[in-house]
Every structure is written in C-alpha cells, then in structure tokens.
C-alpha cells in the first residue's frame, strides 16, 4: 500500500527527475574526466621516475636489496630439497597465494569502512612487496619502491572513482594480473626483443640491417629450413586431418569402437623423443641382416636396403613427416569423432530417405556439420608442425638438409651462438604463423556474431 502511495507521489514531477539525471550524468562525466587526468599524470610521473632511474650513472658493484625473503631465496631453498618433496610444498605455497587472492577478491570490493582500509592496504602493500621479492639493486631500490607506491596509489584512486563503484577495478585487476604479468614477461617482451635482435649481428651489438634475413634465404641451412617448413605445414595438417576424419567416420558406431580409438590415440601420448626412437627402429639401415622393418620388407622383395633418413632432397623430410602425422592423427581423430557424433541423427536419416548414398551423406550432411571442428584440428596441427623441434632433433639432428625453421633457430643459437641468425629464423617462422591465427580470429568473430 505504501509503495503505491510513494509512486503516485513522485509522478507529478517527472521533469525534475529528468533534470536530476542530466545533471548527475554531467557531474559523472566531469568526475570521470578528472580521474582520467589524475591517472594520466600519475603514469607520466612513473615514466619520468623510470627514465630518471636508467639515466643515472650506474653504481659500482651494487648489491641486491631484499626484505629478508625473496623469490630467489625461496626457489633456492626449494631447489635444495628432493624433486618429489618439492611438488606438495610448491603446491601448498601456490595454494596459499591463490587463496589470499580469492579472499581479497571476495572481501575487498565490499562497501564499508573496514573494507575501504583493506583496499588501501592491499593497493600499497602488494606492489611494493612484489617488487621487493625480486630483489632490486641498491641504486635502483628507491626508484622501484617509489614506482610501486605510485602505481598502488593510482590503482586505489581509479578504483575508488570507477563508474561501476569502488572495488570494481580492484577485483578486475587482481583477476587478470597474474596472467597479464606472465604474458608480458614471457611472450610479449621476448617477441619484441627477438624482432629487434634479428637486425643485429651475432653478439647483438652491431646493427646489420637485413643481413640476417638475406642469410636465411641464401645459406643452405636457412634455405632448406624454410623450404622444409613449408612442406611440413602443408602436408602434416592435410594428412593428419584426412586420415583422422576417415578413421573417425569408419569406426563410428562400429563394434569395439573404444579399443580402436585408443590404438590410434596412443601415439599422441608418446613423446616425440619416444616416437623418434620407435621410428628410428622402423627406418634402421645396415648391411647384412636388417633389424628395421621397412628395410626388411625392401630386402625381402629383392631390393637394396635404403638409408631412409639420408635420402636428399625432400624424401627424408617426408620420412620425418610420417612420424609427426602418425603422432598427431590421434588428436585429430578424437576431436573429429566427437564432432561426427554431434551431427544430428535426424539429418542423416532424412538424407537417407532421400535416397543418397554414403558418400553424398558424408559430403552434404557430415562435413558441413563438423566444419568448425575441422578448422580447430587443422589449425592445431598446422601450428604444431610449424613449431616442430623434437622430431628433427632426435631423428636426424638436421643433417642431410632435413632441418626446419624451429629446429634450425635453436641449432644456430646453441651450437653457433649466433643470436642474430636465430632471431631472423624466428621472425620468419612468426610470419608463417600469422595467416593461421588471422584466419582463426576471423572464425571466432563469425561464431560470436552467430551467438
């Protein structure tokens, strides 16, 4: 009853609430603008501090400073224990850290005096402790701590004035910070550093322009690694997908399906090192009595034994590819089999009633139904084949022109300490992966639009 009264009481003045809303929006916009300005100033301050830190004359032999415990001392303590003891210990420590993070996410965003101070403490303590755990050097420590404090203050301020209410930004940052920091350190920074390094010489001191790229395409090792990589990325996904799909369709609803599936899947669980050994026995070559199956067959038919992995050009690459396809078909089959099962049975029956044969049904019903899964499989295997290192390393070591980009770049850097060449090879490899990812991003976008 009282609610009705209140409602009828407010109706006569719609103008005023509207005005209020406009005014509030304006005030919010202004508030937002000042927040942005303060945050921008904060970031400029941080950048200035950073530049100041790195342009100051370097200290002679500075010592690291820590709060008594650091990441380094923790890992050293852990590393001196036995391997098996380390597993539960590191999991417990990690669990405690994650637990603290979740508690913070749960309690800090709430409104109230205690929670307000919890946020204040978290914003200032976490960045400072995080930086101190890395043991900054004597000369840098004051700047590092200052930067941490300013970053914490900025986070707190922006969070307090967030449009979605205090605590919103705080929890968002805590949720994403672990992953974002790791990705920045481990993927984004190294990728940029490698691109820069590809324009410098072996030692990384002298700028050489495009020389490393010229080397990549003219030196036999570089040239063959490019050619072979192209062969790998074309052949491996095609064969793995076609065989995996054919097998998945053939055994669909057959008797003993599970056992048949496991037989094909098993190679996927075997490491490439193990697969390399398995196939080296297959390819074994010697005079006299053969112990490799392939040569035994060749000899049985009256042929001369073949040194499979030394036949150039390209043939030995195909022999290596067989190992990779053998291993990846299992993954393709498992994914495609699940997709084939998801095709509605009614559609199949309808097509059957229309008098189509098995091949037509497969082409017109099954294939369109599993399209997106095929994209997933082809991309996964293609990216895998571009990054292949182990098969080549274990089976041929890149000899007889069987090298590929991903192997050659590690080879250049480990054996010849030639960082520039290795970086250029990496960038070429990177350029090969780009179209694949772009294609997938387009697919994801399409899917999202459908949803």
């Amino acid at each position: 009853m009282s609610e009705v009264k209140v409602e009828s009481g407010t109706t006569p003045a719609p103008n005023r609430t509207e005005l209020d809303a406009v005014e509030r929006r304006q005030r919010e916009g202004k508030r937002h603008r000042t927040t942005m300005i303060v945050v921008a100033i904060g970031f400029i301050l941080v950048a200035a501090l950073f530049i100041f830190m790195i342009t100051r004359p370097p200290l002679e032999d500075p010592r690291p400073v820590s709060l008594g415990v650091s990441l380094n001392s923790f890992f050293q303590w852990l590393g001196n224990l036995g391997p098996i003891v380390q597993i539960p210990l590191v999991l417990i420590v990690f669990g405690v850290v994650v637990g603290l993070i979740l508690l913070l996410i749960e309690y800090a965003p709430r409104s109230g005096r205690g929670y307000f101070w919890l946020r204040v403490a978290a914003c200032f303590i976490i960045p400072v402790v995080a930086f101190m755990l890395l043991r900054p050097y004597q000369g840098a420590v004051i700047y590092v701590v200052l930067i941490a404090v300013i970053l914490g203050a900025l986070l707190f301020f922006a969070d307090l004035r967030a449009r979605q209410g205090a605590g919103y930004l705080f929890q968002l940052i805590i949720f994403s910070a672990p992953a974002v920091i790791l990705l920045l350190i481990g993927l984004i920074y190294p990728a940029i550093a490698t691109i820069f390094a590809s324009f410098f010489d072996k030692t990384g001191d002298n700028f050489v322009g495009l020389e490393n790229y010229v080397w990549t395409f003219t030196n036999p090792e570089g040239f063959w690694s490019v050619i072979n990589t192209i062969i790998w990325v074309l052949v491996a996904p095609t064969f793995a997908t076609v065989i995996g799909l054919a097998y998945a369709v053939f055994i669909d609803k057959a008797r003993g399906e599970k056992a048949l599936k496991i037989l094909i899947f098993m190679p996927f669980a075997i490491s490439f090192v193990g697969a390399g050994i398995i196939w080296k026995l297959m390819y074994d070559f010697r005079q006299g009595e053969q112990i490799g199956l392939l040569n035994a067959i060749v000899v049985a038919f009256g042929g001369e034994p073949i040194s499979w992995l030394a036949v150039e050009p390209l043939f030995n690459t195909l022999c290596l590819l067989a190992v990779f396809i053998w291993s990846q078909t299992g993954l393709a089959m498992v994914i495609l089999s699940a997709a084939v099962k998801a095709v509605p049975i009614e559609q199949m029956e309808a097509a059957e009633i229309d008098g189509t044969n098995a091949w037509q049904r497969f082409r017109n019903v099954t294939l369109p139904g599993i399209r997106s899964s095929i994209v997933v499989v082809v991309t996964t295997v293609a990216i895998g084949s571009l990054k292949i290192y182990d098969v080549v390393a274990v089976m041929t070591g890149g000899r007889s022109n069987s090298t590929v980009l991903a192997f050659e770049m590690v080879n250049q850097q480990q054996r010849f300490q030639s960082y520039g060449h290795s970086a250029a090879l990496a960038v070429v490899l990177f350029l090969f992966v780009v179209p694949l990812i772009v294609f997938n991003v387009i697919q994801i976008r399409k899917q999202r639009e459908i949803r």
């Binding site: 979740l102 900054p136 990705l183 490698t194 057959a254 009595e289 590690v410 899917q447």
Partner: protein
C-alpha cells in the same frame, strides 16, 4: 519420482509399449547398419594395424635379450621366442651424462604436476574475468590473448632465459638481478614459469569458452545471495568447469611431460626430465635398442595413466565452444 510415474501412466496398453520399444531398437539397429559398412570397417582395421605396428615392434624389442636386438629383427621372436625383463631394470639405472632414467622420471613428475596446477589456476582466473566481468575492449583483448599463440616458443626462449639468469639491466643500470639457480641441485622454478607462460594463451581460450557457457542465472542467483566474485569463482565456477579443467589438465600434462625443448633450455643439468635422458641415451650409447626401447615404454606410462584416468572428460571439455556455430 512421483512426477515420473504420472507421465508413464497414460500408456495403458503394455503390449503396444513393448512393441514400440522393440520397433525403436530395430530401427536404431537398421540405421546403424546402413551407416557403417564392411569396407569401412576393414579400412579402419587396416589403419589401426599400420598405426600400431611401429609401437608394437619397439614393445617386443624392449623384452628381448640385448644381444638379439642388435642382430635380428623383432619379428623373429615369432619363430624363436626369447624374452626377458632385464632391459627395464637396466634402463632405469642407465641414462645420459648426469642422470639415470629413474632420477629423471622423478624430475619429470616434479616439473609436470606443478605446471599443470599453475597454468590451470592462472588461466581460469583470467578466463573468468573475460567471461563474467565487463570492461572496455574486452573482445579485442580476448582475441589478442588468443593471437599470442602466434609467438613461437623458440622466439621467447632466449630473452626469457636471459631475464631469468641475468635479470633486468637497462642502459647499464642494474635494476633487478636474475635468479641464481644454476648451481642448485634440483631447481625447477625456471621450467615451471616458462611452461606456465607458454601454455597460457591456449588455456585461457579453451577455459573461457567453457566458463562463458555457464548459465548466467546461476551466477545471478549467487550474486543475489550476497556472494562476491571470489566465492562465485571458488564455489561455482571451479566445480562447474571441472570437465573443461580436467580435459585441459590431460592435454597440458601430455604436452609438458613430452616436452624436450623448454626443459633443455631452462632446466639445470640435475633437473632434466625424462625426455632429455631418453634423447641422450640414444645419442651417447649409439643405438642400444634394448635400453632405448625399455626407456621409451617407461616414459609413456605416466601420460597413459593420466589419459585413462581422465579420458571421459577429455573430449567434452576440449570441444566446448569449438563445435558451436
């Protein structure tokens, strides 16, 4: 339960119900028969045969006396069988330069198990933020994280390694020192961190697909009851996303266990995993097939156990989101 009986009751003629059931079964059988043919089954068995032969050959080799493996093909066991288990115990105590296979087996465990936990937790936190917290440029950022798969691991190895071992020095000003772990007996820290980072883009993508599919009513109900994001994540998302987590755990376990490159670059010599010992076994000893064969099968054990234990989750979680559209 009572609702169920009420629904069934209207079928008052038991014979017709039974007949219906029989008809359905017949129909299903017919459909099954027409969709699979003899030729297809034979082709499948042929593929399975060719796929199994190489592994089978090495398996047989692993049980043959060492001298025989060097001189005759494994198929000769069918005419004159001669088996022993000695290769396995020999393999466990031999290995590469610094480690035996048994020691590196423990190292592999100590590398793989923590990495699986780290990447699952870090990735699911991030995936949750993408799925259930609104922020600016969300879609763009998500695609950016997915696109990070673009970076070949090889590209990241050297800069990351120098960050670990030499720390951060800009313009000759030393800011952070590296981790001094090279001389520590069994340090896995750098391998853990490297593996976790490299697995993140795919993990975030797959887990997000699954977490975003959880009905929003469930989340809303929890919010109304006063749960914050922390509770929702821990009490609802983690249990509901268990199939996806399990399937990614299997994949990640297989990948990390079988990895050779990351461990070779980042692990100190006493922390090298089984793949490395196996690889150097074939390198330093020439082709000692009996050792390599036994070692290979010892190294397959762990991933196979994990796969069989969690296989019912495997495909279900992996395909979430991928088959849509």
């Amino acid at each position: 339960m009572t609702v169920g009986t009420v629904v069934i009751e209207p079928v008052d003629d038991p014979r017709s119900a039974r007949q219906l059931a029989r008809d359905t079964r017949k129909h299903e059988k017919l459909a099954q028969k027409r969709l699979t043919s003899k030729g297809a089954t034979i082709a499948a068995i042929a593929i399975a045969f060719f796929w199994t032969i190489p592994t089978f050959g090495l398996l047989v080799t692993s049980f043959r006396p060492p001298a025989d493996t060097q001189t005759s093909g494994w198929w000769t066991v069918f005419t004159n069988p001669d088996f022993s288990l000695g290769n396995y115990s020999a393999a466990l105590t031999s290995g590469g330069t610094t480690l035996t296979l048994a020691e590196s087996f423990l190292n592999s465990l100590a590398i793989t198990i923590p990495v699986v936990a780290f990447s699952l937790v870090v990735a699911s936190l991030f995936a949750y933020a993408f799925a259930w917290i609104d922020f600016k440029f969300k879609n763009l950022l998500f695609i950016g994280v997915f696109a990070l798969q673009i970076v070949p691991i090889q590209m990241a190895l050297v800069p990351l390694l120098s960050l670990f071992s030499r720390g951060l020095t800009i313009n000759d000003v030393m800011i952070f020192p590296g981790l001094e772990l090279r001389d520590i007996d069994h340090s896995f820290a750098t391998v853990w961190i490297a593996h976790t980072i490299f697995s993140l883009p795919l993990a975030v993508f797959l887990l997000h697909n699954f977490i975003a599919e959880i009905p929003s009513e469930v989340i809303e109900a929890a919010r109304v009851d006063g749960a914050g994001h922390g509770q929702i994540f821990f009490r609802m998302i983690l249990p509901l996303a268990a199939p996806a987590l399990a399937s990614f755990a299997v994949l990640e376990f297989i990948w990390v266990w079988n990895d050779l490159l990351v461990a070779t670059i980042f692990a100190p010599s006493s922390s090298l995993p089984m793949t490395q010992s196996l690889a150097s076994l074939s390198g330093t000893w020439g082709n000692q097939w009996f050792l390599q064969a036994a070692g290979t099968f010892l190294s397959i054990l762990a991933p196979l156990i994990v796969f069989f234990a969690l296989q019912r989750f495997f495909v279900r979680g992996l395909l979430a989101g991928a088959t849509k559209g």
